[in-house]
Assembly symmetry: C2
Homo-oligomer: 494 residues x 2
């Protein structure tokens, strides 16, 4: 701290008399109404979409939702025979000016009463055609994917998006508490972090702007959408100590599975002064446990649970949270030990299926290890060098015969890999040797290598597919239901 | 709420016995050390980069920083004549195992003492070449832009990134309090939101994957990087009521100014059941005031102020915060009134420069209105229809002779436009007419138009360039210094 701070602090204290006197004039949401103490008989003005209509002789029961919470509001409409006709249908947006009343039903404690005698009491704001597709109480997720602009009006998928938003906020809090700086590494890049080659290429605008039609394109060189922001995060970690990001990443792989997206959000972190993989695995375990604890003790838990009609689905979700919050520390085993377990236990009677050293541990093995053998999230560390990218240093117990690197995957029951991380080789010569031996162009990566020449420090980090985590925590099978407009091969409809 | 919730809540209470027993084993940062109560004589292990070295006969004073805060830690090294040689230089990363002691200097209250007699007491982790460019105490921002991998090691630019991170967290809190859902609209899109045409095109991977070399590319149609997520946000608002996002956006414009980036982050929000522009302007004012209040009462304020050497720069920053937190509500004037002020006051003696109705209000006019005339952030509402995109409805006081739309820009002193927003035309026929009259392809936008056929509701929203806000709040002139790796025409170096 220096002298200026004192002046600044004096100035800051003079600012305390400023008061925010703007009251935003948004109308309350249904959630906000229901969180208030409502006096029966008092007035309420509410808008929302019609979810169901039950017609009696002189009375109509209408459930409406505005998407602010899973809770429906029951509107009770009194009709006299000579009232203006009001044809209410599922999907319409309506506005109700009514009176709060205690509800007689089980499902809510308060309802809104109005009457068609008074035309200002209830009105249709937005109509729907007869073909409005969201009629049934419960549509299949597969059907909902064919309704990209309407599917989030369902209780299930709106809950998933609110849940995702809630979880994201908890990560923000977690990283702020731990002294991390959230950074915004670039999406457009000229480097291929993983060396996998499955990158989307970016082109100059198709027309006009002739002066920027440089022969190497808009940026003067070939540019791509990032597959991982790790290399840029490393640069920033060396300046800011601990950095993280939650940012879109892109893979031009031709996979159309329930675990892959062409565009997804990745949570990545890089931490300086880390020289042991267990520091990273401990950090990841603490992070996911902390966020899950906040979920379990929040309304977000009841919100997402109440979006499921099926009791078994709710229990499956609860079991997943309980698995994370297990009393036992999550097991950590090496690749070598994992192979031994797979070969001796999983493939006890199938010697033909056993893994040789260096072979990949497949998703089926991962699910067996975490889901059946350990029944816990597990870390697998120290994979063979040939299985992993160039930037990982040798394992502490390096074995020339079976060379491994200082890395880990976090494996979850039912879904497999959730996080991949490692120490990063922080020594210049070793890093250049690893790149050269893989035939990489060292010149193109000079900017990255320069960090190893200018006050390099041991560091490590990891990346977590954010949709995969939400899918696990929210017990959703297909990550296309976690992101509002999923992108995959041949799918970019709107 | 329904019966399941009760079961769930019962289950949730049984989860309370789970305790997180993982203690992450990261070593404390300098910020974390300095926030503790340190007993003089107790041991401290600290790593960081050397910022300055002052050499005395038998003692050396070394300032180190690890980027966790603007505060330097003073390391005092005792040397005996026959100790192993230790050549400390600016830029090296070092590790110190020493003893805390009360400092005699003014600039900090505690220092770390060590000695070269004990080789485990202080060591160089990462060396620097003689050419290490970050020697001087204060480099120009222009020079720093030539050092993309090292520039965030300066006090100024690391403070800017920490400040950005802090402000982002406050927005997360603000929107959570206001009942918004944070959503992740797509980056890859087949629609052009603004109709401006300055979009980057995305290509299928350049090699391999022949089976996905569909003649229309990877996604089966031409795809681009989004210029604004508004259209997708509107779809989601109609399901979730209030949504917002902070997401990368892209403009392939050939502008290389201090206010433009090819890749930038945009904060966008869409709010349902809004039918008056003043609801949006009140919301924006409340949002920026609330976040600024949190800045002023936080350590983030002292952090970013202490990063400036120049007292005038600190005062300029304080003046900006005071301008936002003014006791007066921010003025709101129409485009018509703005033109009248510009013509009658600014161009009182320059009739040749006066604006005719329909002409654009330029940045020079905006800066005059907000910076000189009102000395306040101001809203300009109801711009001519020809100045704005297709989705804006007519103004409330629509005048056939001078047709305007229900929109606003938020203009800040010194920087000009910060936010642009509007009501969105929510009536199908009117929206189709607007698109047709502008020669847009209605078929391509059917997904968007469908929201106006299925329970449409009045709504509105806005977009704010996040780097512009941080540049204003942090008193940084060029938004290339707000984002860690700026992208602009011919610039994508690493």
């Amino acid at each position: 701290m220096n002298g200026k701070t004192t002046i600044s602090q004096r100035w800051l204290s003079t600012m305390s008399h400023f008061k925010n006197h703007v009251s935003p004039s948004l109308t309350p949401t249904i959630k906000q109404w229901l969180n208030r103490t409502l006096e029966p008989g008092s007035q309420g003005a509410v808008s929302g979409h019609v979810k169901s209509v039950r017609q009696m002789k002189s009375i109509q029961f209408v459930d409406i939702s505005d998407g602010s919470s899973p809770n429906l509001l029951l509107v009770v409409i009194k009709k006299n025979a000579d009232d203006p006709k009001l044809d209410l249908r599922v999907g319409q947006s309506i506005h109700v000016n009514g009176q709060w009343a205690l509800s007689k039903g089980n499902e809510q404690t308060i309802e809104l009463k109005c009457t068609t005698t008074d035309p200002s009491s209830i009105s249709v704001i937005g109509d729907v055609p007869d073909s409005y597709p969201m009629q049934k109480k419960s549509h299949s997720l597969q059907f909902l994917r064919t309704q990209p602009t309407l599917r989030h009006r369902t209780n299930l998928l709106s809950s998933v998006l609110r849940f995702r938003s809630f979880v994201e906020s908890r990560f923000i809090e977690y990283y702020e508490e731990k002294g991390f700086c959230k950074v915004s590494p670039p999406i457009i890049t000229s480097s291929d972090c993983e060396g996998a080659g499955d990158m989307f290429k970016i082109e100059a605008p198709p027309k006009g702007h002739s002066e920027i039609h440089h022969k190497q394109g808009f940026f003067g060189r070939p540019t791509f959408l990032t597959v991982s922001t790790q290399l840029h995060l490393e640069v920033l970690a060396l300046s800011l100590n601990r950095v993280w990001t939650l940012t879109p990443c892109f893979r031009a792989e031709n996979s159309n599975t329930n675990r892959h997206l062409s565009e997804f959000w990745m949570l990545e972190a890089e931490i300086c002064y880390v020289d042991d993989v267990s520091q990273l695995t401990d950090f990841c375990e603490d992070m996911i446990r902390s966020v899950t604890e906040k979920i379990v003790s929040s309304n977000a838990a009841t919100d997402i649970m109440s979006s499921r009609f099926d009791k078994e689905e709710v229990e499956a979700m609860q079991n997943r949270w309980a698995t994370i919050l297990s009393d036992k520390k999550w097991p950590s085993i090496t690749y070598n030990d994992a192979c031994e377990l797979i070969n001796l236990v999983m493939y006890k009677d199938e010697p033909q299926n056993r893994l040789s050293w260096g072979e990949s541990i497949q998703t089926v093995h991962e699910k067996w290890l975490a889901g059946e053998y350990f029944r816990s999230p597990i870390f697998i560390t120290d994979y063979p060098v040939g299985e992993k990218p160039f930037y990982m240093p040798k394992s502490k117990n390096f074995d020339r015969e079976k060379p491994t690197v200082a890395c880990f995957d976090l494996i979850f029951p039912e879904i497999g890999e959730l996080i991949g991380g490692s120490l990063r080789e922080h020594r210049y010569d070793e890093l250049v040797a690893a790149m050269t031996s893989r035939g990489m162009n060292v010149n193109d990566m000079q900017w990255y290598l320069s960090t190893r020449e200018n006050g390099s420090v041991p560091h490590g980090g990891f990346g977590m597919g954010f949709e995969r985590l939400i899918a696990y925590l929210g017990a959703v099978e297909n990550i296309k239901d976690i992101i509002p407009f999923p992108r995959s091969p041949l799918t970019c409809d709107c």
